[in-house]
């Protein structure tokens, strides 16, 4: 059976949806659009929809990659064209194609790009200094809660691949480990760089990558 792989944008107030709420929203929208969803077998059949990487509540994204099991291939362009009738306005399907079997998206993700926009008057030099200070360290240990509720010490410095302040745009750009092996959330890093209340920042995911022979390749 084919899998529909799509790239989507999540903007506006939809940033406040949890991962589960986003999944449900997508499932319902797909059903309204009459996408031929493939249901799982079993007692309580449900469609199979999986996201490459869950987005934290409060974050925006220009790069949501989603796999959806379907029964048949269909005209994707038609869906992209008509989507406004079936999707909430702040969720926008950008592109899509069909694939046959592939490893699960989630297991492939290795890194992500993010932009941080600070919605408060801030001295750019101060941000730059703080970033340089962070980058000059060999190790930055923080306590993280594991899934089982225990606390674990993690070095987040090694999870940061790129971190810089873009003067002209007044944005912070970061490339961070993402996925099931090593994962760093942008705001966890921000908290270590400079203290700004989370509601004063927009976090935008701009890309996700997989790793191939030591190189990062765009996931989509």
């Amino acid at each position: 059976m084919p899998i529909l792989r799509i790239k989507a944008q999540k903007s506006g107030r939809l940033r406040f949806l949890s991962h589960l709420e986003t999944q449900n929203m997508l499932e319902r929208s797909m059903k309204r659009a009459d996408v031929p969803l493939k249901y799982s077998n079993g007692f309580n059949p449900h469609p199979n929809i999986s996201f490459a990487a869950p987005l934290p509540v409060g974050s925006l994204s220009e790069y949501e990659i989603i796999d959806i099991d379907v029964i048949d291939e269909f005209e994707i362009n038609q869906l992209l064209k008509d989507q406004i009738d079936f999707f909430p306005k702040d969720f926008y399907l950008m592109e899509g194609y069909f694939i046959e079997n592939d490893d699960s998206l989630m297991s492939q993700v290795a890194a992500g790009d993010y932009l941080i926009k600070i919605n408060e008057n801030m001295d750019g030099n101060l941000i730059k200094e703080s970033i340089d200070n962070f980058l000059s360290k060999d190790e930055v240990l923080i306590l993280k809660r594991t899934k089982k509720g225990k606390r674990k010490e993690v070095d987040i410095r090694s999870q940061v691949k790129v971190l810089k302040y873009l003067d002209e745009e007044k944005l912070i750009f970061m490339k961070l480990d993402a996925g099931s092996v090593s994962n760093l959330k942008p705001l966890v890093l921000m908290d270590q760089i400079i203290k700004i209340p989370h509601e004063k920042m927009d976090v935008i995911r701009t890309k996700l990558y997989k790793e191939k022979e030591g190189l990062l390749i765009e996931l989509f």
Binding site: G12, R13, L14, F16, L17, S18, L20, E21, N24, M25, E27, R28, S29, M30, K31, R32, Y39, N44, P45, V57, G58, F86, F87, P88, K89, D90, N119, H198, E199, K200, D202
Partner: protein
């Protein structure tokens, strides 16, 4: 990012407040737009499962000159943030403060939401008392089933809608435009519309023992009694073709199609059964076309056929198979709330289970045949056991049985009989099922006498009596097959006070809200002690409201007419005392009076 949106970051469930859900309305507000806030005095997810919200929201928004927005009680975490940041309560759609609305319409579904009604006004910096609100404030109206006794809220609400709102709400807005939004003129002319009650046009006096001495109008044009509104042509009544789809997980992810209004069973405790008379059904075509529209526009895969007693629908034997054959392909489930026990229900279940096996709930309501006759619940133990045998054979393991405790004439034997039924059902399961996974929920709610029912004169059990009965059941329903759930008698006590309350309670409500009481239906927030202090401060003994009433005294809601006559209710109450049943009125008229008062002769 505005100030309100910044608060969303700090809320435990922001999807309660963000709006913009699929099928919600975003409209341009123009000079002449009538702005209406549909106010549900509970948290978002409760309000969004209320059918009336979806009906009126769409009905109003389909009119170009009206913009209906929603507002709910903010949950306590968010309320605190709002107060700290000086943010007034706002509508979901456009984040406009309630103060800027033309009309705020509260829906009153349960008495324990009254503090939330006042709290929502308070969070909007709108004066609570009608008398303190001048022309600059919105008109505050209310409707819903609690409006059949509007008196406890009469000091706060400018106008009540009694009965079904689909037609009268538009008549009210038309009038509002006609009088150029002049509040005084609006109220004066509104009383000429059938189903409208404006409390300030009536005065009540009380005698020393707290009984009502007189109830008189002080404005000539106001009617002496206020008759409810009903929709006569129910098959053609407005029904939405879409429903707002919440982002948040709500209790049920399904669309609702109302298949009829009213109920003919005549259970004597049931307010809905009395006030929604007469029964009016929709045709199969109407039902199927609604279901198809709603499923298409929602993305849900379950449709609930809603009514007070769904299997009593005249053409149910055609409707269910025909819907099942329409939908099986697309894995759409049909859910049937409010099942009555009979042989046919099992046949229907067999059909429905082809699609999806849902949990089953039955309501024998009382433990003995004697008591079921008293309350006129036309169900026998035989019915129950045959049904159980069939459903267990069909493979169900999860069943819920609903009972009430504190019913008139109830004795210890009646309570014990509830647990006997539970054990008998367990035996039937063991004999008819090859598995060992019975999950039998026995739910006991506390009986609260409701206005407009034959039991409106009866005494309500005290908290202590109810607690003893619950403890008795608790001690008898042990074991892993049983799951005994029961209501907190403290909240039923308060519900009882307000259910049959009068205008004097407005002072208590003010005090209670001042003390921070809210979300009284939520166990984790409800504070009985704070309530008792409020009663004490006002000098009202709440016990008085639970007392037995005399047939000849003036009841606080006597000026409201639900169509069923007082003679009928008295007669039913007398028959109850003698254990005499009354037939289902589909089998012959029982002369309740609704046909002569509202439909001119025939039901």
């Amino acid at each position: 990012m505005n100030k309100i949106e910044e608060l969303f970051y700090k809320s435990e469930k922001p999807s309660r407040y963000i709006g913009g859900e699929y099928n919600s309305y975003m409209k341009d507000v123009k000079e002449d737009t009538i702005r209406f806030a549909f106010a549900f005095p509970d948290v978002y997810e409760v309000g969004m499962s209320h059918l009336g919200l979806h009906i009126l929201y769409n009905l109003l928004n389909e009119k170009e000159n009206i913009y209906c927005e929603r507002v709910f009680s903010p949950w306590i975490d968010f309320e605190k943030q709002m107060v700290d940041e000086n943010i007034e309560l706002f509508t979901i759609e456009t984040q406009t403060p309630l103060k800027k609305m033309d009309i705020i319409g509260f829906t009153l579904q349960y008495e324990l939401s009254y503090t939330n009604v006042l709290n929502m006004l308070k969070l909007s910096n709108i004066p609570l008392l009608s008398i303190d609100r001048d022309e600059s404030f919105p008109i505050v109206i209310a409707g819903g089933s609690c409006s059949y006794n509007p008196e406890p809220l009469s000091a706060f609400i400018d106008l009540f809608v009694i009965g079904e709102a689909e037609e009268v709400i538009l008549e009210l807005i038309e009038l509002y435009e006609k009088v150029d939004r002049d509040k005084e003129q609006f109220l004066k002319e509104a009383v000429l519309i059938q189903g409208i009650y404006v409390p300030k046009f009536y005065d009540v006096t009380y005698s020393e023992d707290g009984r009502i001495n007189s109830f008189k109008k002080n404005y000539d044009s106001a009617p002496d009694t206020i008759g409810k509104r009903i929709i006569e042509d129910f098959d053609n009544v407005y029904y939405p073709s879409k429903m707002i789809i919440p982002y948040m997980e709500v209790v049920h992810n399904r669309v609702i199609v109302e298949i009829f209004r009213g109920c003919t069973a005549g259970c004597r405790f049931c307010q809905a059964g009395m006030v929604y008379r007469p029964v009016r059904e929709k045709s199969i075509e109407t039902i199927k076309s609604s279901a198809s529209d709603l499923l298409k526009s929602s993305g849900y895969d379950e449709v609930s056929l809603s009514s007070l007693s769904t299997l009593d629908y005249s053409n149910i034997e055609t409707l269910i198979p025909s819907m099942i054959s329409d939908y099986e392909e697309g894995k759409t489930g049909i859910s049937l709330p409010s099942l009555r026990l009979n042989s046919y229900s099992v046949d229907v279940l067999k059909e429905v289970q082809k699609v999806r096996k849902t949990g089953l709930t039955f309501a024998p309501e009382a433990g003995t045949q004697r008591l079921r006759d008293v309350i006129n619940k036309g169900v026998t133990e035989e019915d129950l056991y045959t049904t159980m045998q069939s459903i267990f054979t069909l493979g169900w393991d999860r069943v819920k049985l609903y009972f009430m405790i504190g019913l008139p004439t109830e004795t210890v034997e009646d309570i014990e009989a509830i647990s006997n039924i539970a054990y008998k059902v367990k035996d039937i399961y063991n004999k008819n099922s090859s598995r060992n996974r019975l999950n039998l929920t026995v739910s006991a709610s506390c009986f609260v006498p409701k206005p407009m029912t034959p039991f409106q004169w009866e005494k309500q059990d005290s908290i202590e009596e109810l607690r003893n009965k619950e403890n008795l059941l608790k001690s008898r329903l042990k074991g892993k097959a049983f799951n005994f759930i029961y209501h907190d008698p403290d909240t039923s006590y308060l519900e009882g006070v307000f259910s049959r309350g009068d205008r004097r309670l407005s002072q208590v409500l003010l005090k209670a809200v001042e003390r921070g009481n809210k979300f009284d239906g939520w166990h984790e927030i409800f504070s009985f002690n704070a309530w008792m202090t409020a009663f004490e401060e006002v000098g009202i003994n709440p016990d008085e409201y639970l007392r037995k009433r005399d047939y000849d005294e003036i009841l606080p809601w006597d000026h409201i007419q639900a169509g069923v006559t007082k003679e009928y209710l008295i007669n039913e109450n007398e028959k109850a005392k003698n254990g005499m049943t009354t037939r289902d009125c589909r089998k012959g008229c029982t002369v309740c009076g609704v046909n002569t008062s509202h439909l001119g002769g025939v039901c």
